[in-house]
Symmetry: C2
């Protein structure tokens, strides 16, 4: 296909992706579900599992392999800007405020699911096609552990914001614990990816590059953002030049972290954390958030759905494995966090609410799974199993949260 033909097709793909996400998102909203649930499901529906099974010819025409680079590159850019915004909203002072409970909840929220995930990988890997042949059992365990420990931090933050829980003990604790967990799981993933290459020099590049990157952001990124923030504040608003400069830096960070092997999403997130909170951060949010989440992010959900093949787990045994992973995920993350919160003196309701929020995997899980699949660490089978787990844990978050909060102020 010529660039021109691909560009025409890209318009059609965008129209269908956005339109379809709207319809499923509308249905999800009517069932009291957040937008992200609708888009996760829309992705699976447009992929080979449903649309591809019903109309394989049409599906192949709409998403031919030749169009993959355009879709992938664009959704990676959207994801990076989104993770940058997540970093911009990340507030380390919250962690300090509730340090002890937060540390305890988040530690449980990592150790238990990580241990369960690693054990499951160790136990299941010899019997089921979960990992590719070149994945060592050690790497498989680390990956599964990281995948189990993920928290849908942005979704958690949005639920807390929407319910007016920002600043409450519950809200602060959940935000603090969630952000620690996510940061930790991403670090583990970075280690897995670094080790997976097999070649020690590649692992060294990833770890060394990652450290160098954090250092560079701290040494150059922080002062640059401070400078841009001061200019923006003085001007009373964000100019095209400020926004263009910021995005240029984000793209550079995304490129560098992709290049050394620890992925663009980390690079963008770390840069976001380096942005000083206040007027500049709010202006970035104002100008980037809507277009990123309404226009670019749906592309990632659909891309992820194109990789999801429900057909791969339609057998009683494989479905059983999926169910097992789902229960381990809920038990490891949700129950463990609730227990930890309860032990730290939170009420039963509060503890259950925290466990529910921490349990949702959302978009973050999709990111880690797509990286694992893309790098050839996991098979499409395990990918699909964990996508089902991610959707189910995300889907149950809102109703369970409403249930345990019912009757409370």
């Amino acid at each position: 296909m010529s660039p021109f033909d691909l560009s025409i097709l890209f318009f059609l793909q965008l129209a269908i992706i956005l339109g379809f996400c709207r319809i499923v998102g509308w249905l999800a909203a009517r069932m009291g579900q957040p937008q992200v649930v609708g888009e996760m499901i829309a992705g699976v529906l447009l992929g080979p599992s449903v649309f591809g099974a019903l109309a394989p010819g049409l599906q192949a025409e709409l998403f031919p392999p030749a169009s993959k680079p355009v879709l992938f590159a664009t959704c990676q850019v959207g994801l990076s800007i989104y993770m940058f915004l997540v970093g911009v909203e990340f507030d380390a002072s919250l962690i300090k405020a509730k340090f002890r409970s937060a540390a305890s909840v988040s530690l449980s929220g990592i150790i238990v699911p990580f241990a369960l995930g690693a054990a499951a990988a160790w136990y299941l890997a010899p019997h089921w096609p979960l990992f590719s042949e070149k994945t060592s059992s050690w790497e498989g365990m680390l990956f599964m552990g990281a995948a189990m420990s993920i928290t849908a931090f942005p979704m958690l933050a949005r639920i807390i914001y929407e319910r007016g829980l920002t600043g409450t003990p519950l809200g602060t604790l959940a935000l603090a614990a969630g952000s620690i967990d996510d940061a930790a799981a991403w670090c583990v993933l970075a280690l897995v990816l670094a080790s997976f290459s097999g070649d020690p020099s590649v692992a060294l590049l990833a770890i060394g590059g990652g450290l160098l990157y954090v250092l560079a952001v701290w040494r150059f990124g922080v002062p640059l953002f401070k400078f841009l923030a001061a200019k923006t504040e003085k001007r009373g608003g964000m100019s095209h030049a400020m926004l263009g400069t910021t995005l240029s830096v984000v793209m550079l960070g995304a490129w560098f972290t992709d290049k050394v092997g620890i992925y663009a999403v980390f690079g963008a997130f770390i840069l976001g954390v380096a942005v000083p909170k206040g007027f500049f951060a709010q202006a970035l949010h104002k100008h980037l958030e809507k277009m990123t989440t309404a226009f670019l992010l749906p592309l990632f959900f659909i891309y992820s759905g194109l990789n999801t093949k429900i057909g791969l787990i339609i057998s009683p045994q494989l479905f059983g494995v999926t169910l097992l992973l789902f229960f381990l995920a809920v038990f490891g993350k949700g129950v463990a966090c609730a227990v930890a919160a309860r032990l730290h003196g939170e009420t039963l309701r509060q503890s259950l609410a925290i466990g529910t929020l921490m349990n949702a995997r959302g978009l973050m899980e999709l990111i880690i799974l797509n990286i694992g699949l893309e790098r050839g660490l996991i098979t499409p089978t395990l990918f699909t199993m964990l996508i089902v787990m991610a959707i189910a844990t995300t889907l149950m978050a809102t109703p369970v949260f409403n249930l345990v909060r019912r009757g409370e102020a």
Copy 2:
């Protein structure tokens, strides 16, 4: 290159494109030039003309042919959203307010440059490699005429806004005349493209499809936007769902008009015109404008620059032809509009100011030239000549405008 490698490269391209546009844009601003001038020049500098001549290996590594589809598809999306926003800001009531002068200025601003362009094409085509072999002399004349009649409408609107001239007789007249001219030139281009296919059924598809499209926008687009506008106003702001739906429709319109052969930019512009003015239009502008112009639009300038090969016109004769086209462009558009305004009773200064504003070609010319090149209507030589003309007419607009306005209130 794998999709993943292309995605890494795309991050680097974006970082360099955005960063470089910032630097050149900053230099342009220091010389009192608008942003668009900086980005037009940045494109030429990053292309084969300068960067490619100085460091051919590096340039080829940064912009390999395999990366073209991603760059092209993304910049087309950016361009469509931008043209949609231009349409959103298009205000037909302005034309009514100053109908007689506007009609007269815009008519001169089309007929004279069109006639000069067509004559130049007829005279020059047999002697110089301006058009491809399959372009008939009739099509060459029409294309050159349309290319000469273009006005940088968005830039004109921005200058008028920035100088606080909105609502003044000068501002209203220039906006009205500029928008009529642009609409007319695009219609001519649509006709040329329709006729160029050679196959009458293709031309019929373009004309029929275009009419059908306008009808569909009027029948379905207008009520849909009215509905979205009412909802947005009631809610007091734009939701993700509203924005997603709007962009889905824009992408659908872009796809359809690309598919029938009259180009995505028209489709997006016409949809923009169908948006009711007021709160909804302002909300769209607020959420889309910054990210589109600061992030997506630079891609188009660079893509256009990658096609510009200054080396093709480095010979005294070819440079002479370029100079001739430039003079015809300035005389045909700028002088003719100024004379028409003067004949309609505007002051000499006002008339000169209007001529200057109408004369700038800006981004609009780049769009028409890239379409002509992409369709194989014009050669890279004529493309480069007219790029030089576009940059020169855009570059001269601000200083000449300041000169003729000097001393006035």
